[in-house]
Symmetry: C4
Subunit: 233 residues, 4 copies
């Protein structure tokens, strides 16, 4: 079942490795079929070198494995929270990519310093608060999803306007319209984090890009009058 | 038409990827045929993996597409300003390369710290001022070209003496005698920016290279009595 | 003799190169056969490009070469101390990998800043004290092993809970259940050190991950109720 | 003539590219035949991609081209000074490698922070003084060699004990017993400079490795009782 989506999710997981965002088994991508309400996710701790599309696990939104010979990623409950809350997203990614994880460990937002950032993220990329001891001891991975949703709500962020977040002392989650798009956003997130690190270590107290340039770049790619690309966005 | 130039511009765009200066569709190179007054530029938002020489777009200096099945790069008006102002340049490049973008985001010039810099850039590489709100809301990409020209004029810089500039909160533009030469300069720009970043973070307040060593190195490669290379410069 | 272990140790040495942890001959891996009390180690100063499984040297725990046409690694006495002290380890690695060596040169522990660290190391990764002049002038490589054991004891660390250490002004040692597992830990060590460097230069005085999140992540992979992976841990 | 040496020098130049120490034509290696007093050096500004062993240039110690269809490297006079002063060296390298050039631009020595450094360089790697205006306007490349010799003399350094130096605001020179050994030292130099940069930015005011550990590591590889490697050093 869902063979095409399995292939998409498999390819998206492999792309994480090819882009240098994960080593060993450190990451996971999922993709959802909104019609059936089922999603496909990487199995837990299976080596990327030997993994096949058929090893992907099909899960429903209550967390039941519907098909698959492996256990799904241990982060599956986080993906579920995001899919349930945001019908507009079709893929979710988690990594420990170098530069995004650096900001997650430092516990600070990635400031919007320029157009590279603004082309994809409409403002600072937030770092969610630390989970409480009760949350960690409870349904940890589900609470991770909850704190992501809490943060986006508090800041009035629509998920596709800033399609990534940092979880404090942990790492980034990214999402998108599809598994491939979510991985694309995860790659851009890490590049944007790297540029921000460089900028802040080169010149502490650098000011953010002004709001009219932020608007201009985000809108020229994503607004109703977008004119970047060939119009098939 | 202009098949040889299309191939040159295509190759120069691919070279950007090979040298690690761009990911995805983040960059563009153009080259001009001064005789016909037409230039060839990368299409907007087309994937480098599938792009062919024939996908390059031919544009005149008023911005009209003369030939091509794609829309030209959204930065086309910036290229036009540079070609109109500087008849001595034959190629223009825009990237978001890591180290040059770092300086653009910090909003500071790249100081000339050594002979690696002086071999190609005859002095600090300027960071142009922030565009005003009116400029961004108006013909944004054209105004980007205008602020580049304004900066070079204010600083009395001949474009081939310092063949690159940073646009604040955006990224670098570079140019050269040909598309390949412009890409070469974009690669050197990023290397020189990396060395400057390293130098400034290792030892803040490092002094610039003295003027006689700057002169010596620039002139031994580019002056009337240049003696570097095999004389076919 | 021990042909399978020789192949394992050889592969683990080559993996060090493939993962970018060593250049030239800068590193060594060994693996032990607990039944016979013999271990297999890389020869000293032999080029990785031409090295073959058969070039591995078999040594006993008194340091006598039992088989091999080459001298064993000059760090052999350090490996012996670790194998003697810790029956639970099956492989030992020494490298001068970039980020771990940075902390060793700075003489500071690698603080546990996040879950990437906690997934593999149950607390800060210690930097052992400087060796005394007498220790360096005496049986230097053996004393290096002794100072590692001394440090783990002082800090009440079980070797598989934090399977790596830094030796001041020198570099890292890592270990594991097998040669391959030791190399895995050496790779993770360097990645975790890189993230810590980035975090500390981005935001000095960053606080460590809190203890309940450290516990959670270490235990979800390594505790009695581990639920990461496919259960064949 | 000197066909074997030409091949050696050619291979050493290519190795510079393979190790990531140079881009484009930014570097040169030479090797000397002490019997004939002739040395072989890379031609000036010739592309590494198309260069052949036969393109190497044979030069005598007065700087006369004895054989070759190209002009020799513009840095040839620097190589000559070193070969004349130090009969024990057989190869010389110049690069603008990232980390060594960073220290050259900052104008500071590379401090000996650990055993990685001590294994190859018996103390801090010096940064030579700035050349005077008269020296730059005179025989610049020869004066570059003179300031290297002046620095080693002032500091009582035997060239094979610290086989590299930084020239202020310029970049590194390295040397060795052969062209291949000189390149090896240039690679280690850059790695050691990178580790020193990391150490100094992670913990400013880090102290140097103590002298007895420096002695131990240098001597275990290079002293009369060296015991690293297979004895064919």
């Amino acid at each position: 079942m869902l063979e095409a989506l399995k292939k998409e999710v498999f390819d998206a997981n492999i792309e994480l490795v090819n882009k240098g965002l994960v080593i060993y088994t450190w990451g996971n991508v999922s993709g959802i079929d909104r019609e059936s309400g089922l999603f496909v996710i990487k199995p837990s701790g299976v080596d990327y070198d030997t993994m096949k599309p058929d090893d992907m696990v099909v899960v429903d939104l209550e967390g039941n494995v519907v098909e698959g010979h492996y256990k799904p990623s241990s982060d599956t409950p986080t993906h579920i929270v995001l899919y349930k809350e945001y019908p507009e997203i079709g893929g979710v990614v988690h990594t420990h990519s170098d530069w995004a994880t650096t900001f997650a460990q430092a516990g600070i937002d990635i400031p919007a310093f320029g157009t590279t950032h603004a082309d994809y993220f409409y403002g600072d990329i937030p770092c969610a608060r630390e989970l409480t001891e009760a949350e960690v001891h409870g349904e940890y991975e589900k609470e991770t999803g909850n704190v992501i949703v809490e943060t986006l709500k508090q800041r009035n962020i629509k998920p596709l306007d800033i399609p990534a977040i940092l979880v404090k002392n942990h790492g980034p989650f990214a999402w998108g319209k599809s598994p491939a798009n979510a991985v694309y956003n995860a790659v851009v997130l890490d590049k944007v984090a790297q540029l921000a690190y460089n900028t802040m270590t080169l010149k502490p107290n650098t000011e953010r890009v002004n709001s009219y340039l932020l608007d201009k770049h985000y809108m020229r790619k994503h607004g109703p009058n977008a004119y970047y690309g060939q119009g098939s966005k």
